[in-house]
Amino acid sequence: MTVSTGTEAPPEPRSAAARRLLGVAVRHPAVVPLGAVVLALLIGAVIIAAAGLDPLVAYAAVLEGALEPGSLDYTFSVWGFTCGMALAAAIPLRMGEFNLGGNGQLVLGGLAAVVVAGALPGPFAVPLALLAAAVLAGGFGAISAPLATRFKIPIIISTLLLSPVAVAVVSFLIRYPLAERGSGVAQTAQLPEDARMWRLPELSYSNVGLLVIIAMMIVFWIVDSRTAVGYELRVVGANRRFGAYGGIVVGRLALGAMAAAGAAAGIVGAIIVLSAPYRLIDGALLSPGYTFAGFAAALLAGGRPLLIPLTSVLFAVLQVGGAAMERSADVPRQLSDLLQGVVIVVLALRTVLDARRTGRSEH
């Protein structure tokens, strides 16, 4: 792995001090995530080059497409959704659980929001819609906790099996009972003016929903770093049996974590639906792939609340810029998924560094 060549590269270590310095540098917590990103981009470059295209042109198109002034507004909103879905992954990740049911939670949030906002337009439509989304998607996410504690079905499996059920049910509701009359497209009717997310001046994609997501991230940061619950989450994540021994009720903690994760994903779904084009369209919540972009961002951040906004930038840029890259450099946008996968694999394989280190210390 290229990440580790730093440790091995010097043929004749000049001095013990230099070696120690290298050792410290390699152990710095930022090395692994940064190395993973660099390595993933390099692997991506090799794949693009192997496809007979120019990696530099492709990456330049990604950056330009995502960061040019005209698209910043859109990139910001995508960043917000990625952060929100990263929260949905990161909260359970803190206690060592994997929530892979983000898609189901996302669409249920969208469903709850469109039903409530559509039924109760007025000044309270938006907060009520967000609340309904958090309750429905949070409740749905929470199902996985008793399934794990009572029935020993791992959360990663139950979330994955529950998610397609929710997606299919919502898809059915959009197509039949909630379908817009007289429309050939599978979508609900447009929400009335007074049931839409409040706008921010001069912005068309980013709206108050972005602020809601930022508020959620701040809450997660405070809970994680300043409260007993956050401490318990991290203790259980570090060593479940020690946590249980120390009196933490792991089942209840899992229930709370999964409910919070589901609620975060549901609120993201609600915000998307309450924003333009102000309706629930079949498949539209899932096609941008926020769930796994968020998952990758959460893993890259190691679940740490303060790093999620940073790591989400990478995946938001890849997502928005991917479309631009496809248009101008003719590199398929699936490259974004591919790079997400490579980042996750490289992160998981960071243990290679440990193996090398212990290997050397034995000599």
Binding site: F151, K152, F172, L338, I344, V352
Partner: protein, 299 residues
Amino acid sequence: MQILEWGFVAAVLLAATPVLYAALAGALSAQVGVFNIALEGQMLWGAFAAVAGSYYTGSAWAGIAIALVSTALFSVVLAVGAARFKADPIIIAIGTNLLALGLTGFLLRVLFDVSGTFAPRGLEGIPSMSFLRDIPVLGPVFGGQTVLVPLAFVLCIAAGLWLRNTAPGLRLRGIGEHPEAAASLGVDVARTQTWTTVAGGALCGLAGAQLALGNVTVFTENMTAGRGWIAVAAVMLVLNRPLWLPVACLGFGAAEAFGFRLQGLGAPQQLTDAAPYAITLLVLVATRLRFGSKRALPS
């Protein structure tokens, strides 16, 4: 509607087969203590490799071979990462699943200049065993199937018997049971874990080949559509025992085939699509109710 006609039995076997190959891969990995949830991505890669292989060589058998070998290579990431470097197999698997999805979509565009679906004229599917046509029962059930369908069931039973009755099978089970004890008896734990997982990759290659060149003759983006996860659930359901896998996978096959029939009768596709997942989860819950505390998977 007649349920117990031979055509329905054939449809159930067909739907069960790809899941069965993947589930056998998962069960073998679980037996050596590797929690393998990379089945979905490996099966998807296998499907793509089989179609690309068949397209370039003009032979479905070459497509199967290419799927088998390349998926085994793809699984080396998980095998070596989890066994040799003690990386978290769950995170590697989530990564390789995304990687397979992105890579197949990417290659579909780059190599064949299509997105979504690739079904070129003259793509060779795996031939069916039409020589069985005139035999009663075997004819209607297997006459229209590829040889990979019965092979899946044979392999499963063979693997189950091998695990149960032979010395190497015992050593394999010992690793999952207690790796330290197995190591002190002279078993190379990491090597066995690695090779078992790679063999699982080859099986997932067969799963993909059957899916893309047997069940249909086409590659579509994300065509595995969660079958790899059903396979993971099936492995949990039978507590890692390959001998019981055919039962679990036939249950899934029946749910899917029954769903197709219901769709034919006008039931909305969204609801019949959801049924296999809901049923799988319910069956998992029901069996755990009965067997209570039995642990199925290494945590």
